[in-house]
């Protein structure tokens, strides 16, 4: 049980009559690079928000690193890093000021915070605009800064909500290399992305959520094996995803009805 980094049991979140996350049982092993997939509105961000303390579950349990989230909230938060939806930046600080702020928020001492801030800014290629406020950063720079802030305290689990959205190919390559090194050192990474190619390249395991329900979970090979037919090992993650979540006949009929567009 101790090698499980993330465990949820019947995790549920309702917004009025809408059940955004419905009895989700997740199992993510420590050191895994876990991709959490689903169509728009499937419940990915809601799940990540619950796992990081931004949203309270309606029911169910969450255990992170063997600790119950509700009873060991502070201890769990100390060991996780988050790039939330919308990045959660204080836009009127400079990049360095923001990283120092976050470092101190996580209880790092002053000299360590300063040292790590400089190193992270250099690594993320953000050190050349020290006086620019975050509001003046490009979207990609903001993403890199948000990631730097998420790792400044050396978390054991990293939650990333669409981390590569808006990041250029060069920076994305550096980030992927960094994340790869982190998992090699035993850090668990839980990421959501719409870009299935990225997930396929980076993640060893995936979970697929659809209409609030976890419909598949396992290594990519295990999911491939679950696809019947002759395709076998050639099946891409996109094909797996579409075969699990894919459009129903009714949805196809609706699309065909838009004949005036074609």
């Amino acid at each position: 049980m101790t090698d499980l980094a993330i465990v949820t049991e019947k995790l549920t979140r309702r917004f009025g009559a809408l059940t955004a996350v419905d009895n989700v049982d997740l199992r993510v092993t420590a050191g895994q690079f876990f991709g959490f997939l689903g169509p728009n509105g499937a419940g990915k961000s809601t799940t990540i928000k619950m796992l990081t303390g931004l949203l309270a579950p309606t029911s169910g349990r969450m255990q992170l690193l063997g600790l119950d989230f509700s009873s060991h909230t502070m201890e769990v938060k100390r060991q996780i890093g988050v790039v939330p939806e919308g990045m959660g930046l204080f836009e009127r600080l400079t990049g360095a000021e923001y990283l120092r702020f976050v470092g101190r928020m996580y209880g790092l001492d002053h000299p360590t915070t300063l040292r790590r801030t400089e190193e992270l800014l250099e690594f993320m290629q953000l050190a050349d605009r020290p006086k620019s406020m975050i509001a003046d950063y490009s979207h990609g720079m903001q993403k890199k800064l948000a990631l730097a802030a998420a790792v400044i305290h050396g978390p054991r689990i990293l939650f990333l909500d669409e981390p590569f959205e808006g990041v250029d190919a060069l920076a994305a390559g550096a980030l992927k290399a960094l994340l790869g090194r982190m998992t090699a050192r035993g850090v668990t990474i839980f990421l959501t992305s719409h870009v299935l190619e990225i997930v396929e390249r980076l993640c060893s395991h995936v979970g697929i959520i659809h209409q609030g329900r976890l419909v598949a979970q396992g290594s990519i090979d295990e999911l491939r094996a679950g696809i019947a037919g002759e395709q076998g090992s050639k099946t891409t993650l996109e094909q797996i995803f579409l075969s699990i979540v894919g459009q129903s006949g009714a949805e196809r009929a609706q699309i065909e009805e838009l004949s005036w567009l074609t």
Binding site: T73, P84, E91, R100, M105, G107
Partner: protein, 549 residues
């Protein structure tokens, strides 16, 4: 080619937009937070409505009186008042008024005619325009009540006058928007604006000193005002009343010329907007010489505090210094106090008959400063935006966030109060020891007492404000009401205690009472921190949603 059946007419487009506004309001009210906000707005609206109604009655009676007493040209005074209100009030409240950015509608196939008409219609759709319109109607009604034959002339003049005002107000608003789209020009504008407002405070002392010598100059300048629309409006009514229709037509044509002129300028401005004028801020390139960041010292200046409280304090101070408008507002209280003291010292102090009592003036001054400086604390997360999520993902108790924020707030108020008290003592002299001590204790009571309520209000009625943005921002209606109620409560209690001291003749009674109240406020504040931490956890979704939207 898109298979659109037929072009959409102006009226139909305006109807669609009215429907859109209604749907937006209706959908907003599905949320409890927005319903509460609307409730607050309704209460504030009722107060504003009472103000407008009282002035309507006064203008009606005034207009009736001017016409019956044979002085219809004096209606110019009313038209001048309405003109100044219509053109200046929107600028004064630019930072607080809400507006719907109708330029966003340009993504639809909106004709320029519809766009222009909508722009004008919005000029009548806000509080300033509606109030001015009601007052104009009151003047017409008052004049017509005195002399029904004047009604057609009054109606024509009023229509022209309203059109002129709408066109000018929209034109000024549009230019302001363009000017204030850039951060630097916005800050310069506010610096100028605050200086003008402060200068107005010095008008009294200046008039006292130089009033007599300025009179001839004013007398020479006054006749030229006759060519302005407000004077022309009064003049035309006077001419109509005297049966001089030539002069009436000339004056009315003058107002029409103004309306056409400003309408044409507005046409040009709206043409630029219709073509897709870009108003966003442009990023200034960093200067090479300034490219090195100041290296942070390894020693932590706030090392005695918890790291999290220290981090919040640093962030708050940086945010304050980078919000030009908020920083400039901090300069306002000492300058206003200086102006007030200057005005007040013209009168005789010390309890002499007919003069001001410094014993009352001193606590009043302190109350005034607290009133101004505490208002933002009731929506203290306004500028956090998406950053507020950090407070919930980081391993910290929310009490630390409040401690950091409140520390900065108290330090700020304490600094301003110290400056103002020093200025008072220098110009007027120290108040008596009992009043001085009572005021100091009352400061602790009102400041700390308000902080607990302000923290609760910030969590309960959060409203995102965009940093440095001027137009289209509004505080939460409920937060305004809570602030208003809390300040009435605390200043009411304080006045009662001071009054009690005077009534009983025990000069030290207020001090003793305020010390007890201050102790209770501090105890209440400390006790509230844990309760607010739990409340923040319960309310986090609402807070995050309101600020990240």
């Amino acid at each position: 080619m898109a298979d659109v059946a037929q072009p959409v007419g102006i009226l139909q487009q305006m109807w669609l937009i009215a429907g859109l506004r209604w749907r937006m309001l209706h959908n907003n009210l599905r949320r409890k937070q927005n319903r509460l906000d609307l409730l607050g707005l309704i209460i504030v609206g009722l107060l504003a409505g009472a103000f407008v109604t009282v002035l309507c009655l006064a203008l009606f009676e005034g207009a009736r009186n001017f016409v019956t007493s044979g002085r219809p040209a004096w209606l110019s005074l009313f038209f001048w008042g309405i003109f100044l209100w219509w053109q200046l009030f929107p600028i004064i409240v630019a930072g607080f008024g809400v507006s719907f950015d109708f330029r966003g509608l340009l993504r639809f196939p909106l004709s320029f005619g519809a766009f222009y008409m909508l722009g004008l219609a919005y000029g009548l759709g806000d509080f300033t325009g509606l109030a001015a319109f009601c007052w104009t109607i009151s003047i017409i009604a008052g004049a017509a009540a005195a002399n029904l034959a004047l009604l057609p002339a009054m109606l024509l003049v009023a229509v022209l006058f309203v059109l002129f005002n709408i066109a000018l107000e929209r034109l000024l608003g549009s230019w302001m928007e363009r000017l204030l789209a850039r951060r630097r020009s916005r800050e310069l504008f506010f610096a100028g604006f605050i200086l003008v407002m402060v200068s107005l405070q010095l008008l009294g002392p200046l008039l006292n000193r130089y009033g007599n010598s300025a009179e001839p100059w004013l007398a020479r300048a006054l006749p030229y005002t006759a060519y302005f629309p407000a004077s022309l409006a009064g003049k035309s009514v006077g001419a109509a009343s005297a049966g001089n229709y030539g002069e009436f037509a000339l004056a009315a044509a003058g107002i029409a010329c103004y309306a056409v002129f400003f309408g044409a300028l507005l046409w040009l401005r709206f043409t630029a907007q219709y073509r897709g004028e870009e108003l966003s801020e442009t990023l200034a390139p960093e200067k090479a010489g300034r490219n090195k960041a100041r290296r942070e010292s390894d020693a932590d200046a706030l090392g005695l505090l918890s790291p999290q409280v220290a981090a919040v304090i640093r962030k708050e101070i940086r945010y304050l210094l980078r919000n030009g408008f908020a920083a400039l507002l901090l300069l306002l209280p000492p300058i206003l106090v200086f102006a007030l003291i200057t005005q007040a010292t013209l009168f005789r102090f010390s309890g002499a008959k007919g003069g001001f009592s410094s014993e009352l003036f001193f606590p009043g001054l302190v109350a005034y400063i607290i009133l101004i400086l505490m208002a933002p604390a009731y929506n203290s997360f306004a500028y956090e935006s998406a950053g507020v999520q950090t407070y919930f993902t980081a391993p910290l108790q929310f009490r630390n966030v409040f401690l950091g924020k409140n520390f900065v707030q108290v330090a700020l108020v304490a600094t301003e109060l110290t400056l103002c008290i020093a200025a008072f003592c220098y110009r007027v002299g120290m108040p008596s020891a009992p009043i001085f001590a009572a005021t100091l204790a009352a400061i602790v009571f009102t400041l700390i007492g308000q902080l607990s309520l302000a923290n609760w209000s910030s969590l309960s009625f959060p409203r995102k404000l965009v940093f440095g943005q001027v137009h289209g921002q509004r505080q939460s209606g409920m937060a305004v009401l809570v602030a208003f109620g809390a300040q009435i409560l605390f200043f009411g209690i304080s006045s009662l205690v001071l009054g009690l001291g005077r009534w009983t003749g025990d000069r030290w009674l207020p001090t003793k009472a305020f010390v007890l109240l201050a102790a209770a406020a501090v105890a209440g504040y400390v006790a509230s921190l844990d309760a607010l931490t739990s409340y923040a956890e319960k309310n986090k979704e609402k807070l995050i949603e309101a600020l990240c939207r």
